[in-house]
């Protein structure tokens, strides 16, 4: 649990620094962490605001990166089904990558639903609190560091820290190459549509690559 809480701190700080760097007020920057409560969606929103993408394109990009939450929701759904609706609504709010990773094994191993649900809620609330504190620290840092330090570069660096460890097999390298080349090739597209189009091309390439690899065995 503790390593997981520590692990989200740099990302929360980057969300705070990033939001300030694109001109958010401290309150708006904190509201992003409280309401979106998703590092991926927040950082994507910040990077696209920095790139002057239009509103609809930013929302669409955040939608695509948020779709992975469907996987966690689907995996949790069977375990949470006996709970009443109100509880499921509350638990859903704190469902994140880390809360899922930290609790799913417990749900699979034990049938004590109320103990598991409490553990999940506790984990989720701790992660939520840590996320807000890290964001506040980031907001503070973002406000005192002069613009000439180019602290907004922590946002792309944060993406690199997430991306590189994922490039462990041939399919992910293919997706990386297709998305990366496509986004440069499509740069002239209007409304900063190049990023979402390149992302979709990368997803399609990955699905084809995955299927081909599996067909070969």
């Amino acid at each position: 649990m503790a390593p997981m809480l520590l692990g989200i701190i740099p990302f929360g700080m980057v969300c705070g620094v990033g939001a300030i760097s694109v001109g958010a007020s401290p309150l708006a920057a904190l509201a992003m962490s409280m309401i979106m409560f998703s590092g991926a969606a927040q950082i994507v929103a910040v990077q696209l605001l920095a790139a002057d993408a239009p509103f609809g394109v930013i929302v669409l990009s955040c939608l695509v990166v948020s779709l992975r939450l469907l996987m966690y929701s689907a995996a949790m759904a069977t375990h949470l089904r006996p709970l009443d609706q109100r509880w499921r609504n509350v638990l859903s709010y704190v469902l994140t990558d880390q809360a899922f990773a930290g609790t799913i094994q417990r749900f699979r191993d034990s049938d004590d639903l109320s103990a598991n649900a409490s553990y999940f809620l506790g984990t989720g609330v701790l992660l939520w609190g840590t996320w807000q504190v890290a964001t506040v620290v980031g907001i503070f840092v973002g406000q005192i560091v002069p613009a000439s330090w180019q602290l907004e570069f922590v946002v792309p660096l944060c993406f690199i820290a997430v991306l590189v460890p994922l490039l462990r097999d041939r399919v992910s390298l293919l997706v990386f190459a297709v998305s990366g080349i496509a986004v440069v090739a499509l740069d002239a597209m209007p409304l900063r549509m190049s990023m979402i189009c390149a992302g979709l091309l990368g997803i399609a390439a990955g699905m084809i690559g995955d299927r081909t690899m599996r067909a070969r065995g």
């Binding site: 708006a28 969606a41 990077q47 605001l49 922590v154 991306l163 399919v171 986004v183 992302g199």
Partner: protein, 110 residues
């Protein structure tokens, strides 16, 4: 549109999306399975989207100007940071080294 207002509207719009995604199978489709095609597509989302969003922030010195040479400080800093991320999977170390490289290049090389 005013930047602050845009950010607030984005916060609520994207907040609705993240919450709806979290609720999806837990509340709305509690009795359904995830469609297999969607599951296959979702596996590719992280690498595809992160690459598409990060690459332009690094390879363009300014909008529309591609710079793939060592004179692009952001490119050099990103490559070094990528090496660090590969060697040690630490976000803090990756970000710290990347910023130090960027600052050093700006300071010493100009």
């Amino acid at each position: 549109m005013d930047r602050e207002l845009t950010i607030w509207l984005l916060t609520f719009a994207v907040g609705a999306i993240t919450y709806a995604s979290r609720l999806s199978f837990i509340a709305f489709f509690a009795r359904r399975e995830m469609p297999p095609l969607l599951a296959r597509a979702l596996k590719q989302v992280p690498v595809a989207m992160v690459t598409a969003i990060v690459v332009p922030a690094i390879v363009f010195a300014w909008p529309g100007v591609l710079r793939l040479d060592p004179g692009n400080a952001k490119l050099v800093a990103a490559l070094v940071a990528g090496g660090i991320a590969w060697w040690r999977q630490s976000a803090t170390l990756t970000i710290a080294v990347g910023m130090i490289v960027l600052w050093s290049l700006r300071y010493f090389v100009g």
